[in-house]
């Protein structure tokens, strides 16, 4: 356990973490929920290019002063990049941030949505 950290060293060694997320699907869209605690929504960057979604976020400095007694997690920036396939309509993507969680709505293109096939009776 590290009990004393030099602030200058801490800044130089600022880490980037892979945030935890949930991905779920409905008929109309894919929804991503990403844990981004301690972030100002203005510092979240989301890029969608072809079939790849890139997320990055800068964490605000959190300083409490004093001597560290327990350090069980590190504080740093977040980044994660993944392929979501070609079923997403990029123009319809929306994002909101609440209580440290980013929710991304990725609407499916019409061709990827299920269609009900009517069965005609003779």
């Amino acid at each position: 356990m590290q009990t004393r950290t030099n602030e200058a060293t801490e800044k130089a060694q600022r880490q980037t973490y892979r945030p935890n997320l949930d991905l779920f699907e409905s008929d109309a869209e894919l929804t991503l929920r990403v844990d981004l605690p301690g972030v100002d929504p203005d510092n979240i960057d989301i890029q969608f290019e072809k079939d790849t979604l890139s997320l990055s976020a800068e964490t605000a400095e959190r300083s409490h002063g004093g001597r560290a007694l327990l350090t069980e997690y590190g504080v740093g920036d977040y980044a994660r990049t993944f392929r979501v396939g070609d079923m997403i309509d990029p123009s319809g993507i929306t994002a909101d941030y609440d209580s440290g969680v980013l929710t991304l709505h990725l609407p499916k293109v019409a061709a990827a949505q299920p269609h009900r096939i009517a069965v005609r009776a003779n």
């Binding site: 980037t16 892979r18 935890n20 997320l21 949930d22 991905l23 779920f24 699907e25 409905s26 929920r33 844990d35 981004l36 605690p37 301690g38 972030v39 100002d40 790849t52 990055s56 959190r62 409490h64 002063g65 004093g66 001597r67 560290a68 007694l69 327990l70 350090t71 069980e72 997690y73 504080v75 980044a79 994660r80 990049t81 993944f82 392929r83 979501v84 396939g85 209580s99 440290g100 969680v101």
Partner: protein, 132 residues
Amino acid sequence: MDQVIEDLWRSISSPSIFSQSPAGYPALNVWESGDGLHVEAELPGMRMQDLDLEVKGRQLTVAGEYEQSDDEKTRYHVRERGVGNFKRVLHLPVDVDAERIEAKLENGVLTVDLPKAETARARKIEVRRVGA
């Protein structure tokens, strides 16, 4: 920076966040200053009304439950975020003033400031020069 491009359709994951910290969930960072103890935890998605904080003597308990917002029909492809209940007990190294504890939850980060009890505060001792 993590430049690995993941294929989410091939990842297999389960709600395992509660076992990620060997000491339990949530992971805690704790500092001590002359005036008090400062406890911090990352609890993304948690609301103050779903969180229970209790101080009893030298024990701080952080407990809560993540809201289950999605119905059973939701088709999950990846599930890494915390679900369900958690409870963590932290033993405090000094006596604290329970009446003056302050907690806030901001952007998923919980901060608890626990002022030290009068008896636990460092006092400056005047050193008198003898003789001279």
